[in-house]
Structures are given as C-alpha cells and as structure tokens.
Symmetry: C2
Subunit: 785 residues, 2 copies
C-alpha cells in the first residue's frame, strides 16, 4: 500500500500533487465536519474519487443482516450511515472541455487543510487542450459556528485568454453509491437509493430537496444558493445563471465568457436539517432559515466565524511539543479532528470514524466512550455532556438487550447508530461486556472532571444498571470467589475466555462506582429500585471477583490460562497485514498473541490494582506479544510505557497514534479517520507523559519529559478552570490560565500543590529509573512512524 505524501507544518496539512494511489486517504484526511455535518475531501469535480459524499450525524438506514447459521439474539437488522443530499459537486467545462484531472492533468495542484482557518483550500492550474491556462482556487468549510452550513468559495481564472466557461453546481440526493462490504445483495439494495423524495423546489440561483429514508423514516431537508460574480466589475447577466432539477437534484448552471485575467467567483452555500420526527415542511423551514442566515453573513463572515471558533478552541486545547516538529503538527491535526467529530453533535452518536467516511457503517464503538470522551471531557465538557446524554438515552434499549440475554440491568450495544445492537459476530461484541464498564467510566470521568453531578448526564442510572449486569454475569465458585466466564476483553485475538483481567477490574470498578453513586444520589437510587442491600451486594461481588496471577512468571495472565498458551511464531509472520487476515480465530484465540492492549489497558485505567513491580513486568511481558493490528492500541501502550519509565518507547507509540491517518499506518484511512487513535494521541501525552489521573475530587499529575523532547505543554479544563502544564528539563510549571479562577488543588507525584491565577507553581523534574530495561516488540511490530 502506498503512503500518502502529505506534508505538515505551520498548522497545515498540505498535498502538493494528486496521487491516484492515495486519493482515498486524502479524502479522509481532508474531510471537513462539525460533528453534525461531515463532507469527504473529494475534488469539486467529483472524479477521480474513492468515496465521497455528505454525511449527517444520526442519519442512517436499516438493512437486513443475514446470518448463514442463525443464533438466538443475533441482530436481524443492520444499520448504516448513508450519504445525504450532497452539495459538494461543482463541475466546469472550458471551451467545451471538462476540467478533469484524469483527462487534463493539472500543471500544478495543491490542497491545504488549515487548522486555524478551518478551511480546505485548493489551487489547481490547467492548460486546456487549446492551450488556454486556467486557475482554480476553491476554499471550502463546514461551519463550526453555524451547525447546518457548508460553504465553498470557488474561483476560476482565465489566465491568458478569453474562455467560455460553463459551471454546473449540484445538490444531489440518492446520487452517490454507498461503500458496502456485506455480500448480501439486499444490503446494497437497501442503501443504494435510501431516500424517498418529498417536495423539491428551484429558483434561479438555487433550490431545495426534501427526502425521507425508506425504513428509518428520517427526514432530511437541504437547501442551496449561489452568489455569482465576475472580477473586474461587470455584473453577471441574469440569464447566465439558471437552475434545473428534479426530485433528487438541484443543478445550477453558470455560463459566462471570461476575458484574459478575468475570474468567475462562485460562493455556494448549503444548509441541511434532519429529524426522525418532524414533518418535511418543518425541516425545509429550518434548512432555509439556516441558509438565509449564512447567505446574510456572507463568505467573509463565515470565514471569520470559523476562525473565531478555532481561535477559542486552540486557546483551550493547543499542545506544544519542542524537539519533534512532526509530532507537534500531528497532534494539532489530531485535536482538530476531535473538534470536527464532536463539536456540534446532538441526539446522535459519534462514529468510530466521525463523519469522515462510511467505514464501520458509521457505527459508534467503545472507541468513543473510551478514547474520544475523556478528551472531550477535558477540553470540551459541554460537547462531552451532549454525547454522554446520547449514550444514556439508549438505556432502555440496553435494558431490553440485557433481557434478551437473560441478564439483569443493561447491556449496551457493541456497535450501533440507533442504540440497537447490530453486531454480527458475538464473540467479539456481545461477549465484550467490558464496554458497559467503559461507558460507566466515561460518565464518572466527566462528573469527576467537571465537578458536576452524575445525574446531569444520566450517569446514576447507567452505573446502577451496569452494576446489576455485572452482578448477573458473576459466577460464584465453591471457594467464595466470583468469576466472569466466557467473555472477551479488548484484545480481539483472544476471545471467549475466563477471568479476563481488564474486564474483571473494570467490572470491579463499575460495581464500586455504582455503590458510590447511590450513596451520593439516594433519591435517584430509590427511583431505580436500589434498596439498602443492593450496593452492599455490589461491593461484595467486587471484592470476590477473581484476578488471576501467574506466580511462576510473576505477571498477570490477560485471562486465566493465557500465559500457558502457546507462543506465536512471530518470525514466521508473513507480513505487515493484520494476523486476522491469514489466521483463523481458532488459532489466534489460544495463542499468546495480542491484537491490542488488553491487560496493558488495565494498567492505565485501573492503576490502583497494580504494584509498580507488577506494572513493569506486565508491560514487559505484553510488549513482546502485542502486534497492534488495532488502531486502539498504540496510545494505550504509550501511556503504559510512560508510567513504567520507558519514555522513549512512550513517544514512539504516541507518534504512531498521532500519525495513524496522516501516514495511513493501518492501510484503511480511505474508509475514514481513526478517531480513537487521534484522541488517544492527546491522551498519551496528557495521561502518559503528563501522568494525569482523576479519581473523584483528586486530580493527579506525574509529569515526565523524554530526553528527545525539549518541552511539552498542554492545557485542560478541571472544574471549569483551565490548567496549563508545561514540562521542561528544569521542572514542570503549572499555571491557572483563567485570571478569575479560584485556587486549583492538584497532586503532583504524590505531593499536593495549589495553583492560583497569576501564581504559577514549578515542581522539580522527576526522572524515573525503570525497573526493567525497555522491552522489544515482535518481529516487524515495533512502533511505526
């Protein structure tokens, strides 16, 4: 697979040539979004393209889910995100010849994603077959300030001679075939043209479309308008612009003659509105109102608003890393994508790929609860709260799923858009019960970090119901111990096992957190039917849960028996492809080969359960057996390595997490970005090098500076106050960013300090001596990037 040649620097990601082999990667990396709307980074002329389209968070369609051999509780209905009415296309003919990079290779080409402007800028120059030189300069944005709005300024200049220019600019529904990897033809059929047309309309410079999905009955309205100008003064003739179309299309055509040096300027604005409840007319009103507001604001206004949102964001979120400019750029890209994925989300989940592609059918996974959510909580707590409320709004569906599984409490869906379980392979989904504790953790983390009550995000209900789930899952043995049997931890190369340590420790945490939540919220507890005995039972189960330990090797087996499994022959591994592509689960499941951090993830999330020696030995053991065929792994390994003193390795993994998409390290960035890895990169910095750990009112830091980095600076929000942490060779400086904030207590390496505005605190640098030398990885599996 080819590596994209994207350059970074100066808050930008730059493409300087169109590479057909990495087109899809660029479409994902250059995708724009605001958590509500997402737009793939395809060229305006739409071709060549790997996959393109506009997505709306929460707009999806059902499809059948056929299992060749049925199993009770296997979902019969799938869900897939679908492209909505897409306004990205602007095509142009010059003197009868299409400006298409395939037919007419450009003289020069450049695209720039600007992380402070929030725009994708494109400059392409062509010489037509007639020898006419044309320059295209487009700038595109999905508004972070105006949730429903997408806008493009598109400018075409006839450099050296007169040219007849015909521009067609589309808004098209049902027009882009979906990416479907399910071979059941009913799936493609359901997703091919998912929308029924409602009303549509056109006027001279634009129009609107209203549609509804056939099965999910989600209404989508889209409106478009164009402002057309010629440079140098002359008004565009009225009859130079007209709009045609039908129920599925609004096509605006501009026909003008450009003089040498003259430009045609098009500002295209689209607005989308959707709802699963409201009638189409209401949606159309909303889309048209948003469009009117954006048109009124004008292109300069939209640009300024965009920059304003980003200025505020970077003021909160920017990190600085001295000594590794590439990493510096990659971390900013990662933070930009976090914002794009979640800024405007409401009433819908964030998919594992945000809105940057239709990979994983747009489903949300624990990627979001486990990785994106803590970042949002520390940087954008209000976005986090909205997203948590979406999660907890699925509690009744999770209760029903638990009932189907004959379990008490609630079992949340492994992959979903609607809240219904849509996973087809249960050993790596239904059996991955840890998800429920991961969700509980994200709720409690938010409450701890913001200082706001759990009830604001529905957290008590979820903690109680997941505690009940764990109580139902725990098997009590003759000897008084309790076991979680036949489950699967994060590592998808080891499935259906007993006493998976990560799951056990998270369950224990969940049970205790639920008891704490009930004590703090007795009224809610009563509402949920929690009597006095129930929390005591939870605590008893938590205490009884069995954590296996291999006394001979002095490490935790990832699950009972793991350390006795056969070792994998890494030397014989045929290549960099994921092992699951050439090994059967039958083989993988009972070998000592780890797809992604599992036991090691427990070292991060449940540090209180491990002694320093255990952590050092466990890291050493699992580093040698982890292949990282999942993008969820590198950030976790980075944190764990940082905590046991392998700072160089921690930076290596941090780089891998941050570069996952810019360098297409997983080989599938064309399907969308790896949000968990991008969010994880920031967490690796903050929780790994910064040592951030949160428990109730306690905010703990343990800053470490790898020798290869000159300085690390990051910020986050704690109880509505921003704290800046600057780790330097001379020590770590803690600064209260907000001038009117109260004192901010924090524990640094075990020592309590209080940070007040205007009075930065410096703590001395700590340099650990690792208990063990830095481990090696399996052959060919050292950190990449």
């Amino acid at each position: 697979m080819a590596t994209p040649s994207l350059q970074t620097g100066s808050w930008q990601v730059r493409e300087t040539a169109l590479d057909p082999d990495t087109l899809g990667v660029a479409e994902s990396v250059f995708a724009l979004g605001n958590g509500h709307i997402g737009l793939r980074g395809a060229l305006e002329e739409t071709q060549p393209s790997v996959s393109r389209g506009t997505f709306l968070s929460g707009v999806y369609e059902h499809h059948p889910l056929a299992h060749p051999e049925e199993g009770y509780g296997a979902p019969e209905r799938g869900e897939a995100i679908i492209g909505v009415a897409d306004g990205a296309a602007i095509r142009v003919q010059v003197d009868g010849v299409a400006l298409d990079v395939r037919e007419t290779p450009p003289d020069t080409h450049e695209r720039v994603l600007d992380l402070r402007a929030g725009t994708l800028d494109r400059r392409t120059a062509w010489t037509t077959p007639d020898g006419r030189r044309m320059r295209l300069h487009s700038t595109r944005l999905v508004s972070l300030a105006h949730r429903s709005v997408t806008a493009t300024r598109w400018r075409l200049e006839a450099v050296d001679g007169p040219a007849r220019v015909v521009v067609t600019s589309d808004l098209v529904a049902n027009g882009i075939p979906p990416q479907v990897d399910n071979p059941d033809p009913r799936v493609a059929e359901a997703l091919e043209r998912p929308f029924e047309a409602g009303c549509s309309g056109r006027h001279r410079t634009g129009g609107h479309l209203v549609h509804r999905t056939r099965s999910t009955r989600i209404g989508v309205a889209a409106a478009v308008d164009h402002a057309v100008e010629l440079s140098g003064g002359p008004a565009v003739p009225v009859d130079a612009v007209h709009t045609d179309g039908d129920d599925d299309r609004v096509v605006t055509t501009v026909v003008v003659d450009l003089a040498a040096g003259q430009s045609l300027d098009l500002v295209k604005v689209t607005a989308h509105a959707w709802s699963g409840r409201d009638p189409g007319e209401d949606l159309l009103d909303r889309a048209q109102a948003a469009l009117a507001e954006a048109v009124d604001r004008g292109w300069p206004g939209l640009l300024a608003d965009q920059r304003g949102v980003l200025e505020a964001y970077w003021e909160d979120a920017d990190v600085e890393v001295d000594g590794d400019p590439e990493l510096q750029d990659a971390l900013r890209f990662a933070l930009f994508q976090v914002l794009q994925a979640a800024a405007g989300v409401h009433d819908a989940p964030v998919g594992a790929k945000g809105l940057t592609g239709s990979g994983y059918s747009g489903h949300t996974f624990w990627d979001i609860d486990g990785f994106l959510m803590p970042v949002l909580t520390l940087l954008r707590p209000r976005d986090a709260a909205r997203l948590l409320r979406w999660r907890t709004s699925g509690l009744d569906q999770a209760r029903e799923r638990a009932r189907v599984l004959d379990l008490p409490g609630a079992a949340f869906p492994w992959r979903t858009i609607s809240g219904e379980e849509t996973s087809a392979y249960w050993p790596a989904s239904t059996a991955a019960m840890h998800l429920n504790a991961d969700i509980s953790r994200s709720l409690r983390f938010w409450s701890d970090v913001t200082g706001r009550p759990l009830t604001e995000v529905g957290g008590v209900d979820v903690l109680v119901e997941t505690a009940r789930l764990w109580t139902g899952l725990a098997h009590h043995d003759h000897d008084g111990s309790a076991h979680l049997l036949g489950l699967t931890g994060p590592d998808e190369y080891t499935g259906v096992v007993d006493d998976n340590v990560f799951t056990v420790l998270m369950a224990r945490w969940n049970l205790r957190a639920a008891a704490g939540a009930c004590a703090a919220h007795p009224r809610d507890a009563r509402r949920l039917g929690v009597d006095d005995d129930e929390p005591a039972q939870w605590l008893a189960v938590a205490a009884a849960l069995h954590v296996p330990y291999d006394e001979v090797l002095g490490v935790h087996p990832a699950n009972t028996g793991f350390t006795a499994y056969r070792e994998w022959d890494f030397e014989a591994a045929p290549g960099p492809e994921p092992l699951q592509e050439h090994s059967h689960y039958l083989t993988l499941y009972r070998h000592q080969v780890v797809k992604q951090a599992d036991l090691v993830q427990a070292l991060w999330w449940c540090p209180e359960e491990f002694t320093a020696e255990q952590a050092a030995r466990d890291v050493d053991y699992y580093e040698r057996r982890t292949v990282r065929d999942s993008s969820l792994s590198a950030a976790v390994q980075s944190v764990a390595c940082a905590r046991v003193g392998h700072l160089d390795l921690a930076v290596d993994y941090l780089r891998e997490a941050a570069f996952v998409d810019l360098r297409d390290l997983q080989g599938d960035t064309h399907q969308g970005l790896h949000l968990a890895s991008l969010a994880g990169a920031w967490l690796a910095l903050v929780s790994g090098l910064g040592g951030l750990h949160v428990d109730g009112e306690d905010l703990r830091l343990a800053p470490r500076l790898p020798d290869r980095l000159g300085r690390v600076r990051f910020r986050f929000r704690w109880r509505d106050r921003r704290l800046q942490v600057e780790i330097t060779p001379q020590g770590t400086v803690l600064t209260a960013v907000d001038p009117d904030a109260g004192p901010l207590p924090v524990t640094v390496d075990g020592t309590p300090v209080t940070v007040e505005p205007g009075r930065p605190v410096t703590v001395p640098r700590v340099v650990d001596t690792p208990l063990l030398p830095a481990p090696t990885q399996p052959a060919g599996r050292a950190p990449r990037a």
Copy 2:
C-alpha cells in the same frame, strides 16, 4: 406441535388418516430410498405437501455464503442438496374433477410402509361431487436391487359407475421449489432452478430429460416409461396414451372411460443416472439401460427383487425385543432406515437425514461417522467400506483445510457434501475438532470388526494425518502436560473451552491408533513420510494430554472449569423448545447445561479411561444437567446408563432414540429423519444392553437384560461371520449363524468363550448392582416416548 398418529406393528408403519398438521412428518417417515435415490413420501397427486421431491446422493448445488462480519477461513460457498427430475407425480381427474384430498376429502385413506416388502402402499377412496365412488391403490418402491430405479404401480377403480378418467404422470426437473432457510436471496436464487437443460425426448408412453447443475456441473439423466392396462381384458387404445413435454418436463397423459368395477392400471418406472464428469449422452444411456432392465423385469419382478434384498437384510440385521412390542417395531423401522440410507451409496456421503429430506441442506456430519458407520460396519460392512472410502477420498481437501488453519495434518469438514468445509459458525464446527478422531475411530472400528486391513479404506492415511493434526493442536505447558485449548466438544451448549475431556480422550486414542497403524503398515507409513520418531512423538503427546478431574466433586468436568460454572435454572425453563431458541450462546456456554452427551459419550467410546466408580458418578452428574436438545444424545445416554447399571433408564433412552421420528420427538422430522438417532437406537441395544466393545482382535460383550424386557436378540457380523446374541432371563445364548464359519472367540464379561457353528454357548445372566441410585433429569427433560 402435533404428534403424528402413526401406528406400527407386523413390520409395518401405518397412517390411517391424512393429518394436515403432521403431513411433513409422514413425508419423511414414508420416504423411500436406497442410498442412491431418495423419494419423499408425498401423495402422488403432489398436494397437499410440506416438501416433496427426489434426491440423488451426491447431487448438490453451490450457493453463496454471506457472513455479515467476515472472518479468515470462513467458507464463502455453501452447498445444498437439490431435488432432481422428479417422477413421483401422478394426477387424476374424474369426470372433470381433480381427485385432490383438499377439495374432495377421501372417504377412507391409508398408507402402509412395509419393512419386509420395501414398499409404500396407499389406498384412498373418494366419492366425487357427482356421487361416483373411486378407489385408488398405489404401491411405490425405490429399488434396493436396481440402484437407479423407482417404480409405482398405480391403480384406480371406478367402483360403481362409468367414469371418464384423465391421468397425467410427470417427470419434472426444476419444478419443486427448495426449502431454503438462509435469508440471503442469492441462496434461494441459486437453488430455485438449479439445472440447465440438456437434451430431452419423448415417445408415446414416456421420455427422458438430461440436465446439468449450473455451478457444480453435475449431470443428471432421468428416463420414464409407463405400462398402461385396463382390468377385464380390453386393450388400451393406442391414442388413449400420449406424452408431451419440453426441456424440463415429460408429461404422459392417459384418457380412458372406466366402466363400473373397472380399473386403470399404470406401472410407472423411472431411472436416474448422474455424474460430475461424464457427458450427458453417457448418462442418458445409463438411465435408459436401467429403465429397460426394470421394464423387462416387470412390476412383479421388481417387487420380488425388493423382497429378496430385504429378506437377506433382516436375516442379518433383525432384532427381537420381547416385552415391548412398540420398541420392537420402532427398532425395525430404524434398521430399515439404516438400509435405505446407505445400501447403494457410492462416491457420495450420507447426509444426516439420508435422502429423506433436505434438512441441514443434505450435509453429512459426524452423525454418520459416529453413529451410522458402526451400525453399517457390524451389519453391512461392504456398504460401510464404500462410505469410508468416500470419507477418505476427502483427505486432500482436509489437508488443505488444515493448511488454511495453519495446522499440520488434515482437518475434515464439519458439514459438507463435496468434502469442502461449509460451516458458517466456527465455534460449533471448526472448533469441534473431535470430528477428526471420530472419523479415525470409524475407520479403525471397520478394520477391527471386519478383520481387513485399514489400507482397504484409506485408513492409515487418515489416522496419520489426524494424529499430526492433534500434535499441532496440543499446547505444551510448563509442567510437561499438553492441552487442547479453545475447542468445542459434542455439547454445543458449551463452546470454545479448554481440555474438553471427550476431545482429549479421543485425540489420545487417535494418536495411539495412528502409531499402531504405522507399526502394522510400515510401507504406508513411509509413503506418508512418517519417520521412526514421529509415532514416538504421538505417543508422548497422547501420554501428556491433560484430563481435568474435579477432586472435590469426584467427577470429570466436561472441560476445565465446567463444574464451577453456574448451574442452570431448569425450573425456570419456559418450555420444551431447545434452549438455544431462547438463550444466547454467551449464557449457555458458561453454564452447567449440556445439550447432548459429551463427557458421557467418552464413557462409551473410551471406557478404558474411566474406573467403574468414575463412570457411575459421571453419569449421575451429567444426567442431572443434560437437556437433550440434540437427537444425538439419547442413544449415548442409553449406552452409558446401561453400562453403570441403570437398565430401566437405558431402555427409556433407547426408546427415545428409536421413536425420534415416528413420534416427531424433536419437532423437525418434517425436514427429514434423524439417522444418527435411528442408528443409535440399535447401537444402544447392542453396545448398551449387549455391552459390545471392540478393540483390535478383541470382541467383548457384557449382556444385560432389563427386567421389563423378556428377551433381546440381535445379530452382527464379526470378521465375516455372523454372531447371534440372545439375552434371556436364563442367560445369554451366543450362536454362530453361518454353518461353515470357523470358531469365533469372544469375551463375555471378562471370560473368553469360543462360539462354533452348531454349538451355541450359554453364559449365565449377570445382574449388576448399580453403585448409585438411578439419577433424575432436569425438569421436563426426562426421557420421552
């Protein structure tokens, strides 16, 4: 679900009324076959019907196998048995009114399956709307003597007045829609009209069709002819019979006027030939030659030949059970079905349902290797050898499957027709590696029983390659023990577990048997690349394999940890439906609930591995936890109960195994008969009450007589000599049936005796005192029937 009201007695199974609720059951119970051709027991007029058609062993079609979530090594192509050109239909109109039991309910109706005649007889009387009384009497057979031939004598009598009769008799290809439960529409599409037409032809009284399957490219030729007569002498006018048709149909029409008391007699003979290699013309030649031979033999000849084959069979195979006439009849039905399933099979597997229905898509499973094959070996060793040769002919495919799984040796397919793996749910197929040892056992059993070398059935090759598979699967622990991890035993309610005892013991047996086979066949061993060290390695692995034992409870856990799993709440079970229909595998897999004998199956097949006390306790433990949601269980439980002295319970389970289809105990007999259960019933008698056990040259018996049975008599063939065992209250009489056979050594309850022709040996009755009282079963799960 309704229970069919089939009566048995006098070597017959009788239906005395058409019950629309159990029509499908009757179609399976009344199916006729000879191992090569199978014909569902539908009415000649074809409707009403649940599913009907003619099957040829080995004629199947491919279909896509879509997995909603892909996994490496999951088969992408399915296989399904398909109905071939079907000649069962004979429809009649009398004075313009169809004689159809739905429109014109019969005055009387009876069908009789005759186990000695090998025919299905039908007598139905109608009164037409005009008041005309008509009597139909048909007799149908699938010839056990003429492999390719199916014949029906069909006689219609106008009882009390003149009647104009129009008969149409079909041979139709692509005419019967298949039963498809896979929701992927491509599956139904592939199977709907699976045949391309080749040549066809017609003459006045019949014709032929040649077809080829679209994907598997299997050619099928079918030819049909009719002999038409009128009772009382008058010749049938030439123009009263004619035949029409097209590429897919041969339709012979007879139009006659019957006087009162006169009958129309039709003898319809069809012949089929198929091949995956030969051209259609050759197949047509073969079908027409078979047809000509059958026509030449005539109806009385076909009947006589049929009776001749059955007389010989019953002479070899009949059992007598005094004191339980129902069981006596059911056992004869079971033995009849064993013959029908396997008598003529060649170059093809026997499906789990024989050719009695399209359930399980006609696939073969370990049902056949484990249950049918030992019966065939003891009763029809030449049929067994042909079937074993089919199995071993799949060795290269099994080697390739092992290679896909990154394992040495050979891994046979869990379900297949062609020899390719077609299972979609790997935890209950690919993980059920015991199949490979079961196949090895069936080969060695054949060699032991016949005294013929393993090489005659390809046995050395399979034993060697499966031993290599086990060597590859065995995980060696620090302490020198070897483990089989992450596999699934027979019990499909406990999957992906470690140290499944049945699998471990069968693997151990397989490894040792392979070493023995190499010692006995050194040249074959060398051909297979077995050096001097390899058998020693096998023996070392066999010795090292770990068998878990629960010292506290004093029982074998079915797998490591099983006895610590949570107990199932049987009282809360909602009904007689299989638990898998309302419980998720996640729940089932780690509860102490057993779908089918698993550890208990090891008590039967590996008795040398258990002390008498262990066996007694193990039976007691698993009886209380086994729900028998699989039809493979009752016979095994019967044997195990017999061996630990619970003779009454052994008979109860024997009855359940024998009545599985006559009483539709699994509720799915309409999809075809449960061959393994029917074969298992005989094994329960012979291996359970008879105590038959075979090991190399040793033939062991341990006859026991339950008080409720007055006498049990069975026969089997040992090294080409038939031995009769007659268990009576006075003792057991062993008789050499063949007058010219040599002395036959046999060990009875540990004492060697020699049986010679003309000198029956009587051994005294042994009455055991069971070590434990008879166990009870879970609520609602006591033996049925």
